[in-house]
Symmetry: D2
Subunit: 335 residues, 4 copies
Amino acid sequence: MIRLAIIGYGYWGPNVVRNFSRISGVSISWVVDINPTTLVEVPKIYPTIQTTSDIQDVIHDKTIDGVVIVTPPRTHFTLASTFLNAGFNVLVEKPMTQTTKEARTLVALAEARKKILMVDHTFIYTPAVTSIKQILDSGELGDVYYIDSVRTNLGLIQKDSNVIYDLAVHDFSIIDYLFGMIPKTISATGYTHKEIRQETVAHISAVYDNNLFVHCNISWLSPIKIRRMMFIGTKKMLVYDDIEQSEKIKIYDKGVSFIKDPKQALQMRIGYRSGNMIAPNIPIEEGLFGMAEEYVRALETKKKPLTDGNAGLRVVRCLELSTKSLRTGGKSVRI
Amino acid sequence: MIRLAIIGYGYWGPNVVRNFSRISGVSISWVVDINPTTLVEVPKIYPTIQTTSDIQDVIHDKTIDGVVIVTPPRTHFTLASTFLNAGFNVLVEKPMTQTTKEARTLVALAEARKKILMVDHTFIYTPAVTSIKQILDSGELGDVYYIDSVRTNLGLIQKDSNVIYDLAVHDFSIIDYLFGMIPKTISATGYTHKEIRQETVAHISAVYDNNLFVHCNISWLSPIKIRRMMFIGTKKMLVYDDIEQSEKIKIYDKGVSFIKDPKQALQMRIGYRSGNMIAPNIPIEEGLFGMAEEYVRALETKKKPLTDGNAGLRVVRCLELSTKSLRTGGKSVRI
Amino acid sequence: MIRLAIIGYGYWGPNVVRNFSRISGVSISWVVDINPTTLVEVPKIYPTIQTTSDIQDVIHDKTIDGVVIVTPPRTHFTLASTFLNAGFNVLVEKPMTQTTKEARTLVALAEARKKILMVDHTFIYTPAVTSIKQILDSGELGDVYYIDSVRTNLGLIQKDSNVIYDLAVHDFSIIDYLFGMIPKTISATGYTHKEIRQETVAHISAVYDNNLFVHCNISWLSPIKIRRMMFIGTKKMLVYDDIEQSEKIKIYDKGVSFIKDPKQALQMRIGYRSGNMIAPNIPIEEGLFGMAEEYVRALETKKKPLTDGNAGLRVVRCLELSTKSLRTGGKSVRI
Amino acid sequence: MIRLAIIGYGYWGPNVVRNFSRISGVSISWVVDINPTTLVEVPKIYPTIQTTSDIQDVIHDKTIDGVVIVTPPRTHFTLASTFLNAGFNVLVEKPMTQTTKEARTLVALAEARKKILMVDHTFIYTPAVTSIKQILDSGELGDVYYIDSVRTNLGLIQKDSNVIYDLAVHDFSIIDYLFGMIPKTISATGYTHKEIRQETVAHISAVYDNNLFVHCNISWLSPIKIRRMMFIGTKKMLVYDDIEQSEKIKIYDKGVSFIKDPKQALQMRIGYRSGNMIAPNIPIEEGLFGMAEEYVRALETKKKPLTDGNAGLRVVRCLELSTKSLRTGGKSVRI
């Protein structure tokens, strides 16, 4: 039996508890939250889970195999380092930390203590992203040279986090997983709400090896919710629309050709698809569930999880540099 | 009777001829094209229009009131200056020229010769953009502080023009018309096809007065055709989707508020619209027809058209600086 | 404290348990299911709820205020009559019974025993249908004379129930609630899968008083999921699309006019909307939660619920007659 | 050179003239319309076409190879029989006539006179319907046993024609072409506007051989324009959405299976697609152009066109019987 403690029961905590509860062989011993009012909700649904506002109760519980930190981003580093220092395996919600320096410290700490450090890059565990990985690896799209990602909705403007840490974390972690590369340069522009000194819109451009260009449009200021990534390859193009219920991935048998003949050129303009489109069947499952399973597997096998501390570090670095570029007028920064 | 000569009968020429033909009191005397094969099509539909491959035939025709230049962008300047010098009123397709310098020369030439110089910024004459102008002027949206524009499709990659001159011309001309402002700074990133040394994707950020931030995502590399501008105001948000047949404009009674209470915050995340949405009725008419009418009106009244040479100049300057920024790694350029 | 027993924990049971759990002052004492494997899941989430495969355990528990029957339709009558006879208040999932005769018996039994009999017509309790009720009652649409309803998806073909009992129950219950009328005549055509002798597609036409004509297209054989009702009124038209996330209701300021002038007629064909469209803001809440609250209120106040046994009876009668018409070649049947 | 006379230049006439003009080897000699105001428009665009309000001018023109009748439906029979009797080949707009009797008379007349009688069932000539024909013939869908067609929009309510003759003509002609079968029985319900004694909504059920069931929902009373046919086969399902610009046809690798296992049943309900979806590439061309080509081919070769008088007769019979069934309370009528 794997015994867990969940630290934080705010917006996301209940989803985390629900998904770990679905895994057989897992028992949640504690839910911790500084807000006692929130904790009152726990026993109504899960009467066997103990609740507390004091993390010392968890630290003193020697039966715990791992903790899951689901608190606001600004508290991730302190909590994660406390638990690692206390000898616990740790799973942290995304983004892992607020700074690259903090991320490096956590990675070093986990290695020194020989503990598992994992970050919840949820999308990596969705059937859609897993399918895209297989399609890319099969070479069906040819070489991908442009990715256009849009994540917009009318989001909660947060006082202690900007839109980059909230949304671009998904793009950087997905590309990290799909391509195994980090950007060479990053630049970003955007809009900053002066009232809270936080970026609420960001347009991030990132250049990777192999001539891959990526742009992320992320925004809390859109009346329409969009979650769409386009992968433009030399052979085919893939659109991943996470809002779609049943056809999240569409592969267009369409590439670019260089046409000189004016007659053909005309035809290209009028009919802009020359091949078929295929929407492969994608199983329906929560990414959060696969992520929970991966953590449990790591705890059981003592092996590094797919999204380990280093993945968290690579992504936080991108977030930090994107914010830095935006705050210096869009200057391109090298990694 | 207003007599016109149409210079160029390629992809767009037939649309121009068709729309001017619809205006009573207008007669098209000539269609000129260097390609004789193309000209063969003209008399099949319009037997009374004379055709020629030699612009001298037009220049010697003293009955012509104005010419309309519908040729590839690289020929605009030479043709327009030739006709202005020859004493003709001139309407040029967008973009007016390929460089700011050329645009300035044309404007000066038109003034010196006291001739009309007009540019076809088609969208300005669509019922949708006219409606948006009225809505903005009414103050219904409050102050607009962010515009997010997307123009993507699988476009014909052109050898002598990049995606900025092809598509961003619409964004800059629409904003020029709606707000009467030019950007203070522009920066751009994108993707360049080395085979043809042309930009095929561009992400342009422009900062205007009154804290207005604009981003344009323009691309010839998208399997999906998108034509959408979002105007985010302090009071309401407006989405203009030109692909929609019957509801091109949607006004969302939704603004941003700064919420501290965690309970309310939760609710904000779940339901991201708190007010009604209204799609005003928009009449259906081609922008090209309204543009044609404006040129005829200018020829008849000798008054400056809405999109005169100066509008063309302002827009070309933005296109040139966007391209320049993109080619220098995204550096912000001042106007 | 209201104490409940839930009978049935299959596909829908967990949703019912979850929603009643959210109501303060409510305690679920029992979950009953004939399948012991299913029951194993209950204590994992709700350790305080007792489970059993024997309804006698519930019947002998004198602390129970009401039962909720969430079993397959063919068992509704037997279970409901057993519990009513044993002196319990009863809530039954839709459809209340399989025959009109059974429905009448239950209604009579509830009256004789002075017990509450309620049916779960879930949609009646959704914010969308409640909003439509207000809009209709306000007279904004004028007189509604045509309703076009479509409920299609690739549904599970069931051995003991046809598509009419599965899906048309929603249409008849919604119209029953919105208009307070029953049809005068019903006719139906459709497709029957011979392998299981069950209707898998049905097209039901129903004529109501006030010249109201209703058609329901219900199908388990559609690759696309559609849940859409259109209400055509003399003044305006309303579309209720339950698949939409944020704009479930759209009101079109559009009516029919009788045009003789051929010029105007032409214009009518080209632009088919002459007024604005408004999508009112609808709060997000599960209908099942409102339904659960209504049952608890009825148990507490001893007053008839909105969807009482008589509503269940009226709807079952429509389902029975629709099936009868379909099986006799579409003959119109009077009610 | 094939010489044509176009009879009628109202709403649809200009489209017919434009498409015949595109065919080389075709010359339009006359455009006839009783309305002189309308005729004024013709020479503006086509200065070589003669116009008249008197059909005798055409009848006396011995150089004419065929006439095209594009007048209101109530005039089709008189005009077509006049021209056939005068020895002309005749193409009639859909629907060919208003009654089966008239259609039979025209067919007999054409045979007696050895003239071509063709009806413009436009959709038969669209790339989409041609593609569907190929897909059906290939057996990819298995046996098609259910077709669900919807054609709704806010249509012009016509005084001399009901919605069945206006819209269901498309469904019956498409199915006639795709399957080569006529219905065995037809029944219809609907809504009739008393002010004009015309049906404005109809729901037509038709039973064909091979256990094929067809339903058509046609309406002039919808704020939303829908043009969608679903073909449900034993192997796959096809959706033809004519409103879509680039993906008009989608083939779903999905059939119905009879599941008993309750666990699997549950899964079926949650994920309702188990296979891929493919949208084949469809060339873009007007059906009207292919139809015009077919008429010219028939005139040149003297061979029967694809949609000859008999096709027109079969479809008119379905329209007549649908109207009859609707007017007798939905009674099923045998063909």
